[in-house]
Amino acid sequence: MLKVENLNVSFETRRGIVNVIENLNFTVEPGRTLGIVGESGSGKSVTSLAIMGLLPPNARVTSGRILLGDKDLLRASESEMQEIRGGRLAMIFQDPMTSLNPSFTVGFQLEEAMRVHGVKGNLRERAIEMLKLVGIPDPALRLSSYPHQLSGGMSQRVMIAMAIACSPEFLIADEPTTALDVTIQAQILALLKKVQKERNMGLILITHDIGVVAQMADDILVMYAGHAMEMGPKEEVIHRPRHPYTKALLASLPASHAQSGFRTRLPTISGLVPDLLNRPTGCQLHPRCEYANENCKAQMPSIHHVGGSLVKCHRPLEPAGGHA
């Protein structure tokens, strides 16, 4: 079980200290997929880097715990983290084309990923096996390819092979398909789902595309400005969104828009993500929320159960769309 408890991350910048993540809580069970959705700058990637212990040097975890089983990753030593990275936790990144070392062959890097974790035996054999598993044709031949000879989709398959080579318990996929075109995107997501099922891995899928999450996730966490806005099982969040922000995200999906006919403008969420140095008072969303009232401006809502979800809102929506 991977459990993030009360996580706070801040960055030191020239303009001052920015709290990028505030009081974040979530849990991922083995074999389940948590989809984290949010706009750019909502803290999705920082969350994943914090879990991996790969935050940039100017970032600090000010409080909280990240528990992998009963091990607190925030208090683990660097050598313990090296064991855990790639061993029990693995991650794949947004741009597969730049995620592989351009100077070495795919085979070398794949074998290297296993060698780091002390895998013994015929590594070449295992590398071929891994490439076959992620659906790369001619795996034996591909081992001697250089990254620049691979397409984006192929590179991402190699990355997935490297990530699961040591059978991690949890895989974090940070926008794994954003840099790929749509047909490849579907293939990669299907592949992720397949390997997750086969190996009973926990998957954290980070994306700004709520459509992808609706297709892939068991649970959904909606983030905004470093806060969890809504969290719950997929059916609840997608079909009965309680938070105005979740509802607005869903409404701006081209697919859901299509049902209402093409003649109208695609709805958008007006306004911008708040400047994290000068956070708004009260609810972080209130400047952009059509339901906001005086209370929303004054007081930060606490996260509480509404229906089947956890919602951070003073005025959660009724499933029909009205107010409680």
């Binding site: 990144f93 070392n101 044709p137 001619d138 989709g153 192929m154 990530a163 047909t183």
Partner: protein, 306 residues
């Protein structure tokens, strides 16, 4: 029918057959061989290397052998030359051709050692400074700044004076003056590479710092280092020859071009070939390395292609 099935099999996305990309060396050679200067440079360097390697077999005499009866003979194109001494003899009767051939051997070794010493130390310091950063970086780079603020030949003279005057110390002295270039180059390269995605990705697979530095970062910094190394050869040869000319490098009777120049300078009017020929050798070899280095840079740096 056949054509349509061929077309449809071509469309299967993401599973395309290996693209026939030329090997890295093939691509490099394509760009390199189209640069005439670079090819000439390579030919010069290869020629001198072979001459240096084969010196004991192709040199007509031992370079230190004194022919009492053949002092200051002119080369073959002048009046009074001797068929046994093609390029003439020097003031004590040593065969100039043999001395030049052995001099090639000395110069190639000198260049090689200067590059090996300065490149390995410079690269290591640059890697550490660039990767670790912080106060380590500050200390290394300020030391480099100090080295660079001194004229290199002056610095070399100081080092030789402290260590003693011989060829080995001249090589060390010149290496010290070449190190800063490598440190700066590698450090800059490391700072670019260490923030690239694949370095973060490799950390996410559990790679530690040593693996990070030597497997991920170093190989991707090598292209400019190779170029700088080639140019370092010519720096090394030139500076060691200069030290030799000042009497601080190779000591007589070693057949070293700079020392030969120095020994012959009093005969510049009576026997000009004694000065000209070693000087020409230095010029041609240094020119060869510079052409080669420029050619390598053009072929290895993607920004300069086309």
């Amino acid at each position: 029918m056949n054509t349509s099935s061929a077309v449809s099999s071509n469309i299967t996305t993401d599973n395309e057959a290996p693209i026939a990309t030329p090997s890295a060396f093939g691509e490099f050679w394509y760009f390199f061989s189209r640069n005439r200067g670079a090819v000439i440079g390579l030919a010069i360097v290869v020629t001198f290397t072979l001459i240096g390697l084969a010196a004991p077999w192709i040199a007509p005499y031992d370079p230190s052998l004194i022919h009492d009866n053949a002092l200051v003979l002119p080369p073959f194109w002048s009046e009074g030359s001797h068929p046994n001494f093609w390029l003439g003899t020097d003031d004590v009767g040593r065969d100039l051709l043999s001395r030049l051939i052995y001099g090639a051997r000395v110069s190639m070794i000198v260049g090689f050692m200067v590059v090996v010493v300065s490149l390995s130390i410079g690269t290591l310091l640059g890697l550490i400074a660039g990767y670790v950063g912080g106060w380590v970086d500050t200390i290394v780079m300020r030391a480099v700044d100090i080295l660079m603020s001194l004229p290199s030949i002056l610095l070399a003279i100081v080092v030789v004076t402290v260590l003693g005057q011989n060829l080995m110390n001249a090589i060390l002295a010149v290496s010290v003056t070449v190190i800063p270039g490598f440190v700066r180059l590698v450090r800059a390269q490391v700072m670019v590479e260490k923030n690239k995605q694949y370095v973060v990705a490799s950390r996410s697979f559990g790679a530690g710092s040593l693996r990070q530095i030597f497997i991920n970062i170093l190989p991707n910094c090598m292209a400019p280092v190779i170029v700088q190394g080639t140019l370092g050869f010519s720096d090394g040869i030139l500076n060691v020859a200069a030290l030799g000319f000042l009497g601080l490098g190779a000591q007589p009777p070693t057949a070293e071009w700079g020392t030969m120049l120095s020994d012959a300078r009093s005969f510049i009017e009576s026997a000009p070939w004694l000065v000209t020929l070693p000087g020409l050798c230095i010029l041609i070899l240094v020119l060869g390395f510079n052409l080669l280095g420029d050619g390598l840079r053009d072929a290895l740096d993607p920004r300069l292609k086309k």
